[in-house]
């Protein structure tokens, strides 16, 4: 009882302190300027026409701050590798889940799969024209696989294909950066033709849609792998280490 009281006291003190801290920071934040002019974003907006990309966010992500995105993709890749390291092992065996074969569930999920993947591909391909892009589309594709896992727990993904997609798309991204160095002497430059007149069309923006497609493949396969690992954890047969 006493112990519990003490803990509560600690909680109260800490929460009071954190509120005081945040209130004080809040007071400070009223000094933050909110109508800045001439930020990098303004310069980017004024320059964006040259990239022939309708979506300025996409051009920032893939072009102006392109190396950020390489890093981001790498982070995701590292996380996937780490999760695979943790949650996959030869000692792990999964039990066969007895689930009722339901015709509607089976066919419905497979039909929906196509639609969702199609939607994901659309989001990826139109990343430079409309809100969306490689990351968003990749995650949409991963949700399609999540749906499959929910419908049929015994399903297995073909890891070799996913690994291929993940590795080759990642390598392709870096290769594009390096090819650009040889072509126009700038890493990750836009070395494909990107006439401004094409803005708003599907084929426009030079390497930008290509990069987003690569990112889409990579994110899609990585997220699917992550989803599979976490879903499969539920059906683990035995504790491998203990």
């Amino acid at each position: 009882m006493n112990l519990k009281k003490e803990f509560r006291l600690k909680h109260i003190v800490l929460s009071l302190l954190s509120s005081a801290l945040m209130l004080s920071i809040l007071g400070l934040l009223s000094h933050v300027k909110t109508n800045l002019h001439k930020t990098v974003g303004d310069i980017v907006l004024s320059l964006n026409m040259q990239t022939a990309t309708a979506n300025a966010v996409t051009s920032v992500v893939t072009f102006f701050r392109g190396i950020d995105t390489v890093g981001e993709v790498t982070v995701l890749f590292l996380a996937t590798t780490g999760i695979a390291l943790m949650l996959s092992s030869t000692q792990r065996t999964y039990k066969k889940v007895v689930h009722q074969e339901s015709f509607i569930l089976d066919i419905g999920s497979k039909m929906l799969l196509n639609v969702i993947v199609l939607f994901g591909v659309y989001v990826i391909v139109h990343g430079h024209l409309s809100p969306g892009g490689g990351f968003q589309g990749g995650v949409v594709i991963a949700t399609a696989f999540l749906l499959l896992f929910l419908a049929n727990p015994n399903m297995k993904l073909k890891h070799s294909i996913l690994t291929l997609g993940e590795s080759l798309s990642g390598a392709a991204y870096v290769l594009i950066a390096i090819i650009s160095l040889f072509k126009i002497n700038i890493l990750l430059g836009n070395f494909l033709p990107h006439p401004v007149s094409q803005i708003g069309e599907l084929v426009s923006g030079g390497i930008i849609p290509i990069i987003y497609i690569i990112v889409g493949i990579k994110v899609g396969s990585e997220m699917s792998v992550i989803v599979e690992y976490f879903v499969k954890e539920d059906y683990l047969k035995e504790v491998p280490h203990a």
Binding site: T34, G66, I67, V70, E72, T81, G82, I186, L188, G189
Partner: protein, 484 residues
């Protein structure tokens, strides 16, 4: 060669790792050695080039992002690529000797750890630095937990939690910076930092301080660090100590001097560094676990580096950079030797130091110990005396007395280990060293002696680096895209 390769090459090697694995383990191991060797040789080439050098990505800064290499980062680049090369050679032996571990993914994390650390010191965009910070972070979490045993996982979880806290502070700071100045380019921020509302400027500085200070293991934020070192493999500890901690230290002091925070916060950071040094050296006295012991020793040395690097005087900073390089080499040497011992004895008690019989290992280990203690004719001595000389020139006698007094405490446990090693009453088992390790360890030991007897090899670079740190005009110009 463009500076961008320092990041892109490790990335492409990491992505293709599964295919190297398919070609066979030797291809996998060889690829990493090849990669680190190329990076190291490339860095050596940069020592003869006029610096700073810049290479842009996509668009010229300040709109885009660029890698800028100045003399300050060159020193760190040399340390990192060299340490990486040595560890990749060492791993040739390690995975042969411990064939129960799956090595494929290890190389992914290892390459990216190196790439992330290098990216952190090269990038001139603070948000990009944050990305590299996370790349290094995730690689190190995974490397800490790599063995998938209880201790490793605990270390991984702790590291991840601390990393998350640090990254929240850093993201907050970057956001406030962008809200205030509208840019994330380090050069522009440095120019306009004084325009920020002073209270918010303090808040930003504090958040950056907490974020990078936590990762760089400064005192009240370093209670996690020994746990991480204890849980990880020994050669991973070598990486943490020689590369990762140093890269956070780099960003810490790079921003510290670029943003002009040195006028205000010198005393704070110096005293925190001193406390770090004091507390960790005292705490090390009681340790039973060898990895934890050297974790405290690393913390202590980082404390000295904090004290000296924050001191604002060029002599002290030059000495600190020398000490930093020497500490990286010595700690790497020690951790690699410990790795050999631990894989032989399957124990991490400090008594394993007294149980092995190998003249070669004893000699290199003692060289490493004496170098860290700052005893001539090894490189640590030059670093320590340069730091002390710098403090003396700025008449900071308290710091001198402090460093020397705590160094005696440091000597207690180092010489306890040496006495254990020399104790003839213990039963000694001979330890297989491995051909590669003879090369790696003797190269490291020779470097320690070489820098000790011929320090101008290194002081040349540390002096240049100090100038680059304290007079960052050319760096700032390049960060704004002048050199393109």
């Amino acid at each position: 060669m463009s500076l961008g390769y320092y990041f892109l090459l490790p990335v492409i090697f990491s992505f293709l790792t599964p295919y190297f694995r398919k070609l066979g383990t030797s291809a996998l191991r060889g690829s990493s050695v090849f990669l680190t060797f190329i990076l190291f040789v490339q860095t050596l080439e940069y020592t003869g080039v006029s610096l700073p050098q810049i290479s842009q990505f996509s668009v010229a800064p300040p709109i885009g992002i660029a890698f800028v290499l100045d003399n300050f980062s060159l020193l760190f680049l040399l340390i990192f690529t060299f340490s990486g090369f040595m560890v990749s050679l060492y791993m040739l032996w390690y995975f042969k000797a411990n064939d129960n571990t799956n090595e494929t993914r290890f190389y992914v994390f290892f390459n990216m750890l190196l790439a992330g650390s290098i990216g952190m010191i090269l990038s001139c965009d603070i948000f990009n630095v944050y990305i590299f910070f996370e790349i290094t972070g995730i690689s190190s979490y995974a490397l800490a937990a790599y063995n998938k045993d209880k201790l490793g996982l605990e270390a991984g979880i702790k590291y991840l939690i601390i990393g998350s806290i640090a990254s929240i502070f850093i993201v907050f700071a970057i956001m406030l910076i962008y809200l205030q100045i509208g840019t994330v380019n380090i050069g522009l921020i440095a120019q306009r930092y004084s325009e920020i509302d002073p209270k918010i400027a303090v808040l930003i500085a504090l958040m950056l301080f907490i974020g990078f200070g936590t990762k760089a293991e400064l005192f009240p934020m370093n209670f996690w660090a020994p746990d991480i070192y204890q849980g990880s493999s020994s050669h991973v500890n070598g990486l943490f100590s020689a590369i990762v901690a140093k890269s956070y230290l780099f960003v810490f002091f790079h921003l510290f001097y670029l943003f002009g925070l040195n006028t205000k916060y010198t005393l704070l950071i110096m005293s925190l560094g001193a406390i770090t040094f004091l507390v960790s050296e005292f705490t090390a006295l009681n340790q039973k676990d060898i990895k934890r012991l050297f974790a405290y020793s690393t913390l202590g040395q980082l404390g000295i580096l904090f004290m000296a690097l924050a001191s604002n005087s060029s002599d002290t900073i030059s000495g600190a950079l020398f000490h930093l390089a020497s500490h990286s080499i010595s700690k790497l040497l020690i951790f690699l030797v410990l790795g050999i011992l631990i894989s032989k004895f399957k124990s991490t008690k400090i008594t394993i130091v007294g149980d092995f019989k190998s003249l070669f290992l004893s000699i290199v280990l003692i060289i490493g110990f004496l170098s860290i203690l700052g005893i001539p004719p090894f490189s640590g001595f030059i670093g320590k005396i340069l730091i002390l000389k710098g403090f003396a020139l700025s008449h900071n006698y308290i710091a001198i007395a402090f460093i020397l007094l705590v160094s005696i405490v440091e000597a207690v446990y180092f010489f306890r280990l040496i006495a254990l090693m020399l104790d003839k009453k213990r039963t000694k088992t001979s330890v297989p060293v491995g051909f590669v390790n003879y090369i790696v360890l003797s190269v490291l030991a020779i470097l320690i002696v070489l820098f000790g007897v011929y320090p101008s090899l290194l002081t040349h670079y540390t002096d240049l680096a100090t100038n680059a740190l304290l007079q960052p005009h050319s760096y700032l110009q390049f960060a704004l895209g002048v050199g393109l």
